[in-house]
Symmetry: C2
Subunit: 400 residues, 2 copies
């Protein structure tokens, strides 16, 4: 492991050197000419590497090393689908060219970061940071810094961890302040002078998501039961508390892994979300925000993800059930399939029109591709401890 | 006009000749290396030409001539976003490389065609034909023919015009038979041997659409008032007739142009559709299929299109109001803006995340790009009699 880290550091240093010279060294081959709509990346966390994949051929096109600490890494795409912006846990922000398979820009923007987002117009990349707490905005072309919104709260000038960052229409970004218990909306219409509105949210919002139309922002609360909801079409109404029973409640079951809210799903006008600490998926009516069903599942759900066509919802689980995946039929609200695609299923990503799903089986060092209709194995791809999977079609979506 | 046609024929013949030789003539320059997620095409109908546009820079990158009769042309994209499949009214199907800006394949597949679609997996391109009535499927790579489903109905072996073709999940295609009064669903899981289910729909379905999740297929009826609806998640329930008052009703106002059903919009869980022959946009609850509002507008609506964020709905009109566009606020269901962007506004297309809209002003020979928040003019692009506008981000969507 230490050798790996050393190698990665060396690679990163070499890469930076090459970039500084602008030379045509091994990390900057001539870009390939091809469409970028069917490209994607898979995070190989342990090696600090991105694998570039072709989702039409279901193949690995190449690997880009030197990306640092990619635990909990997240990725967004430029609006042309050519570049991936990679937010590392170590606060580095890297811009990777999927065509030349090289790091073309890289900045160390914070000490401890937890993901990022890209503006509606594709011109502003924003990172959300634990340390120092706040968000920072960068020019998507050059990664030159544009602006910072420090998450300062209270009278003592303390800074809060920022979580749940999501892009919203109008070049706005919405995020939650874990320590301050607030939701902030920053409008980057002027990229160098963002204007921020602040809303009281509840105790310790720990993750957030925005609905696919960019209208409702939801933040799960860690310090109390329930979810904070802000209607961005009517922000003057402030935050409304919904799903009062969502959370650990009085039972306080052990929670092995906090579920990812970004994994919540919309299908059939309903929101499908992982219960906290319970073996259940909850179904909520997105018009009334009332629960309409609790569906029993085999373990503690982590990601609850709807197929793009909304026909089925896929669920993966925390330890000890993280080798299993269950598929829920949306119409009958019943589990119709139990899959065991490999050891440690960390993430899944659907093709944009939903025919296939890619799942990372970290401890089997492979990604498996399944058909969503018949659960048939379409491909098995060997990769080093794969975790997050991100397809370039995210570039065209709100809230990804 | 005859000279133009002759020139176009000559260009097409030359192009075919060049393709046959595989030579590097003027129609096949070396492809550019760039992302394809922000590309699009604008139909220049009178010249049988496609303009290739860059939606990030708001510029024309080049033009591809020789595409024949492009009146009522429609376009779909390969799943990598690199190729546009162009369905001409004259029955020609052309495959255009957006990177090299050249026609790379072209087949004369019918005598009179009215658009097409591409399968969920991107491997099958299907054309819908008036003459001979039916659909024909082609390999997306080579345009080699795969299968045909002739729209034969009744006892005398007559063939119906096919309209309203839409792709559905599972490599299915859904379409309506104008003369037969039926909706057909063809499953191309085996591309060379499609299986077809047939449903009675009502008198003279004249256009159709599928909801963005690929679940509900709706066909407007010309021969009677109302809309035929098929739930593809529960096809055994058959077609249900909804919106019984939709149509000309007893007043039989003159209809200057039949509204495009493909221009129906979903926003806020509601369907927004053009009334036929009336100066109204209808709002329908997509759960109950009941009307919830009739919104008065300035003319007979043609396209009623929601922004991708669902915040506003844009409407253009038939003669004599085809120089006007109205914008409806979805929350208040009121018209909030009247625009006059140019003469003969034939089509509009939103950027995939909704920040800008492109509108073709045919008789002013330009495309105008407006911001959707403040309706400010971002760009004016000179083109020859522009009509349809199609962005490559459609490749990632169901039903486009």
């Amino acid at each position: 492991m230490r050798t790996d880290s050393f190698l990665n550091m060396w690679r990163a240093a070499l890469c930076t050197f090459c970039l500084a010279l602008g030379c045509g060294c091994a990390t900057q081959p001539v870009p390939t000419s091809r469409g970028t709509g069917d490209l994607g990346v898979v995070v190989e966390r342990a090696r600090g590497t991105l694998a570039i994949v072709d989702t039409s051929q279901r193949t690995v096109l190449g690997e880009v090393p030197g990306l640092g600490d990619l635990s909990h890494a997240s990725v967004v795409f430029s609006r042309d689908g050519r570049f991936a912006f990679v937010f590392g846990r170590d606060g580095a922000l890297s811009k990777v060219d999927l065509l030349s398979r090289a790091v073309v820009q890289r900045v160390q923007q914070a000490g401890n970061a937890i993901g990022g987002a890209i503006s509606q117009d594709g011109r502003i990349v924003v990172a959300q940071n634990y340390e120092p707490g706040g968000i920072r905005a960068f020019d998507a072309d050059t990664l030159a810094p544009l602006a910072e919104v420090p998450a300062v709260y209270g009278n003592e000038g303390r800074r809060s961890k920022v979580v749940g960052l999501a892009d919203a229409p109008g070049n706005r970004f919405v995020y939650a302040l874990f320590d301050a218990g607030e939701i902030w909306v920053s409008d980057f219409s002027d990229p160098r002078a963002p204007r921020t509105e602040k809303y009281s949210a509840g105790r310790q919002p720990y993750d957030g998501l925005i609905t696919p139309d960019g209208r409702f922002y939801l933040a799960g609360l860690f310090g109390e039961d329930g979810v904070a909801m802000l209607d961005l079409w009517r922000p003057s109404q402030g935050v409304r508390k919904i799903l009062h029973h969502w959370g650990q409640g009085e039972e306080h079951l052990p929670v092995y892994k906090m579920p990812h809210l970004r994994g919540w799903a919309m299908a059939d006008g309903l929101l499908w979300l992982p219960a906290v600490g319970k073996h259940e998926v909850w179904v909520v009516d997105a018009r009334t925000w009332e629960e309409v069903a609790h569906i029993p599942v085999i373990g503690q759900p982590v990601f609850v993800m709807a197929q793009p066509d909304g026909r089925q919802v896929w669920v993966n689980f925390a330890l000890p059930d993280n080798g299993k995946v269950q598929v829920i039929d949306v119409l009958s609200r019943a589990v119709v399939k139990l899959l065991e695609p490999g050891r440690a299923i960390l993430h899944l990503e659907f093709q944009p029109r939903g025919g296939e799903v890619w799942l990372s089986a970290r401890d089997d060092h492979r990604v498996v591709v399944l058909g969503t209709d018949h659960f048939d194995l379409r491909q098995s791809i060997t990769l080093d401890a794969p975790s997050g999977i991100f397809f370039s079609s995210r570039a065209a979506k709100i809230g990804f």
